[in-house]
């Protein structure tokens, strides 16, 4: 396995790889000069950045080095009161009464500025999150812009969305988002909420606040009325205080199932409307007739995209027994060609783990995999000395009872299980309290549809994996949450239906 920085040297470190060629790549870092990171950031309330009332701050790090990027404000109860009040005022006086056709034009403006400033956003996202620049540049930022563009078009067409005439917005939305796709998750939350006529208080994740704050600046740039979007930085305590605020009408949360359940408990008995997009433990099912090269790429994309920090990651590979050895062999060869290293290097395939805390969780769960008897494999791989890193890892000999087959690892770790019959594949795939996504690889069309009908999952990728689009509803069954984001269905979360 090469590294963006040291190329062949890392790949050859004590290991002779006779199978895959060891390509040497010169470093090709994207310039970080395009982004200006301020020494500190305030909270975005009522259209302006202001310091936190209680003065609390915390640092956000570059996870690829562990170095501090900047200081951000920690929102406390007084700040939350102000932000919710600003959102309420904007809802009642400005955004709610505004014709949908005018709301639409603000959203189109935001979409356009995201496109114009996409490189700036991409570099900032990779710096703060640790994801490879090719992913932030080609996936996160374009999709975020596309979401605003898509929902902009709905703002003046809500009468035709299938929820009856003149569907009403809900009011003030508290939106708490995760660190794995920081700007994209902000777009998934804000765009449909604003299109439907709600106002928002957005709480980005503690470890990845910077692109949400840059988006707040974009809201200023496009002249969005004050209070329509408010951004409060902080950790779990801030999020909990926000969603339990009595003047919040709607809660939208993306994150862990554990926290999602806590939020559902806290909202019990209130009139607050709640949508949750939570964890997953998706099966990626490979049949013996699958197009192997495509399936290998799909497996890699399924679990190693974004370092496996993906709720819908294909973290359980279910491969038909007759081809299991061949598939795993080819997979290992392919993994040996992935390049891990500097997230800003345009050749990098695998970036940094987002935080020390997440690295510890991955380390703990993979240790459980060893302890429970599964066999661990990683390609020859030199990890950078500073920052948070974990090599692509494959566990074979995994049984359904192993923790690494049941619990969401949220890292670059694949558990391989086998099956013999389609019925067994269905049973194993559905043997989880989650139900977010599934993958199916086979050349037989009727089998694809038969399998797709039986997956208890909200998104099924057949002969592809990890595809996203603003027109395509996304969300889970069972303990992966409720409600959908994307498409016409995504509007329902922000309207009285």
């Amino acid at each position: 396995m090469g590294s963006g920085k040291s190329g062949k040297k890392a790949a050859g470190a004590g290991v002779v790889d006779t199978v895959s060629p060891s390509w040497e790549y010169a470093p090709a870092p994207e310039s970080r000069d395009i982004v200006t990171i301020a020494p500190e950031y305030g909270l975005f309330i009522s259209g302006e950045f202001r310091p936190p009332a209680a003065g609390g701050t915390f640092a956000t790090l570059d996870p690829s080095t562990g170095a501090k990027l900047t200081t951000v404000a920690e929102a406390g109860p007084a700040d939350i009161d102000q932000a919710v009040a600003a959102a309420r005022t904007a809802y009642e006086n400005v955004w709610g009464p505004m014709p949908g056709s005018e709301r639409a034009k603000y959203l189109y403006r935001i979409a356009r500025v995201l496109q114009e400033r996409s490189r700036e956003f991409a570099v900032l996202e990779s710096l703060d999150n640790g994801k490879p620049i090719k992913e932030s540049r080609d996936v996160d930022i374009p999709l975020a812009a596309a979401h605003f563009f898509y929902y902009a078009g709905w703002a003046d067409k809500l009468d035709y969305a299938g929820f009856g005439p003149a569907p009403r917005p809900i009011g003030v939305a508290a939106q708490v988002i995760p660190w794995n796709f920081p700007l994209l998750m902000a777009a998934w939350k804000l765009a449909p909420a604003l299109a439907a006529g709600n106002t928002c208080v957005l709480k980005p994740a503690e470890t990845t606040p910077l692109t949400a704050l840059l988006l707040a600046a974009v809201c200023q740039q496009v002249g969005l009325p004050p209070g329509v979007v408010n951004v409060l930085t902080g950790a779990g305590e801030t999020g909990a205080a926000l969603v339990t605020h009595p003047d919040v009408d709607k809660i939208a949360f993306t994150g862990s199932t554990e926290v999602g359940k806590q939020i559902a408990v806290s909202a019990a008995g209130t009139p607050k409307k709640l949508t949750l997009e939570l964890g997953g433990k998706a099966a990626n099912i490979v049949f013996d007739d699958a197009p192997v090269e495509q399936a290998i790429e799909g497996i890699v994309n399924g679990i190693f995209f974004n370092q496996g920090h993906v709720c819908c990651a294909g973290s359980r590979l279910l491969v038909q027994e007759s081809v299991a050895d061949a598939v795993v062999d080819r997979l290992k060869r392919r993994l040996a060609t992935l390049r891990l290293g500097d997230p800003l290097d345009k050749n990098t395939d695998i970036g940094a783990i987002n935080s020390r805390q997440q690295l510890d969780k991955i380390t703990e769960l993979t240790a459980a995999g060893d302890a429970e008897g599964a066999e661990r494999w990683s390609p020859p791989c030199r990890l950078p000395e500073k920052g948070f890193w974990f090599p692509p890892t494959v566990f074979t000999g995994v049984s359904q009872s192993h923790r690494i087959a049941r619990e969401e690892i949220f890292g670059p770790v694949l558990s391989v299980l086998t099956f013999r019959t389609p019925e067994e594949a269905v049973a194993k795939a559905n043997n989880t309290p989650y139900g977010l996504s599934a993958g199916i690889w086979t050349d037989k069309g009727s089998r694809i549809l038969w399998m797709a009908q039986r997956m208890r999952a909200g998104v099924v990728w057949a002969n592809t994996y990890n595809r996203f689009d603003p027109a395509s509803p996304f969300g889970g069954y069972q303990e992966s949450g409720y409600g959908r984001e994307g498409g016409r269905h995504g509007l329902a979360a922000y309207l009285h239906v």
Binding site: T257, A264, G269, P433, V459, A462, T464, A471, H489
Partner: protein
């Protein structure tokens, strides 16, 4: 029930539970007296226990694969058959509803007719809802992408307390129409029409376990249903408002979908698709397009 006249003693009915297509008494052996509006004793109803509720969930889970896998056309016909069977026993239903709710015969008959028509209305939705709730999604890439609605699974329903038949049908039909299976906690004070409905369902081609109906204490049974880890959704329509928060907290344990009555929901109003949509999941399937 009226006393026998003209020398013949009438045969009275034992009102039982309906679990997995069978009519057991409560495994607990308990029953409770049911009174009419004027205070007369109407009958004793079975008082379902925690075990009865768990057995019902098991029966509903067992029936889910077959019922959700049936064609929409088939489910529509089965629901229409329920309306046919009710029509034939309309007089019996009217007598039960009149006694349970203390209504004049004409009013009770009107409610029974409305309940029958409600089955017909929902039956017609079975092969239409997928086109209304789903669709093809125009994604920006070479993919065929479509969304379809699917049943969420086992739905536990606290039936309305006031409307013993029309209310019950109004919350039950939209749940099972789309392939969900149901565990119903009937109106505690007005349970008897639900038992007659169970007798109709048992003879209406509804597979065993698709609908399970329990009579008994709402306060005792609703928390068990809301906390059951193999229930996917809970409808709290008939739960007391004061219990709502605790039941929703219990439902959060496995993130059940929670339904409730809308403000001002009147059972005699024309139905909408709201309840139909509330127990559906949207599944989105992607496939590359290429040669």
């Amino acid at each position: 029930m009226s006393e026998a006249t003209s020398g013949r003693l009438d045969v009275r009915k034992t009102y039982k539970l309906f679990i997995g297509g069978a009519f057991p008494r409560s495994e607990s052996g308990r029953s409770y007296p049911v009174h009419g509006k004027n205070g007369d004793l109407l009958a004793y109803a079975a008082k379902a226990s925690r075990k009865d509720l768990r057995d019902s969930v098991k029966a509903a889970r067992g029936a889910f694969g077959g019922w959700s896998g049936a064609t929409a056309y088939n489910r529509g016909q089965v629901l229409y058959r329920v309306a046919e069977m009710m029509e034939g026993r309309a007089a019996q239903f009217a007598a039960e509803v009149a006694e349970a709710e203390g209504l004049r015969p004409a009013r009770a008959s009107a409610l029974v007719s409305a309940a029958i028509d409600r089955w017909v209305w929902y039956a017609g939705w079975s092969d239409k809802v997928a086109q209304v709730a789903g669709g093809a999604n125009p994604v920006a890439g070479p993919y065929f992408n479509f969304s379809v609605p699917e049943p969420t699974g086992v739905v536990a329903t606290v039936a309305p307390q006031d409307s013993s038949l029309l209310g019950l049908v109004s919350v039950l039909a939209p749940v099972i129409l789309t392939g969900n299976t149901a565990v119903v906690i009937a109106s505690e004070l007005r349970p008897l029409p639900s038992v007659v409905l169970a007798e109709v369902l048992a003879t209406s081609d509804i597979p065993a376990g698709v609908v399970n109906i329990l009579t008994g204490s709402t306060a005792e049974l609703a928390p068990i249903a809301a906390g059951h880890m193999d229930v996917n959704a809970v409808d709290l329509t008939g739960a007391p408002a004061a219990d709502r928060a605790a039941l929703e907290r219990a439902a959060a344990g496995n993130l059940k979908r929670v339904l409730a009555n809308h403000d001002g929901e009147q059972w005699t109003d024309p139905p909408t698709t709201r309840r139909l949509m509330a127990t559906l999941e949207i599944k989105t399937v992607w496939h590359p397009a290429g040669i």
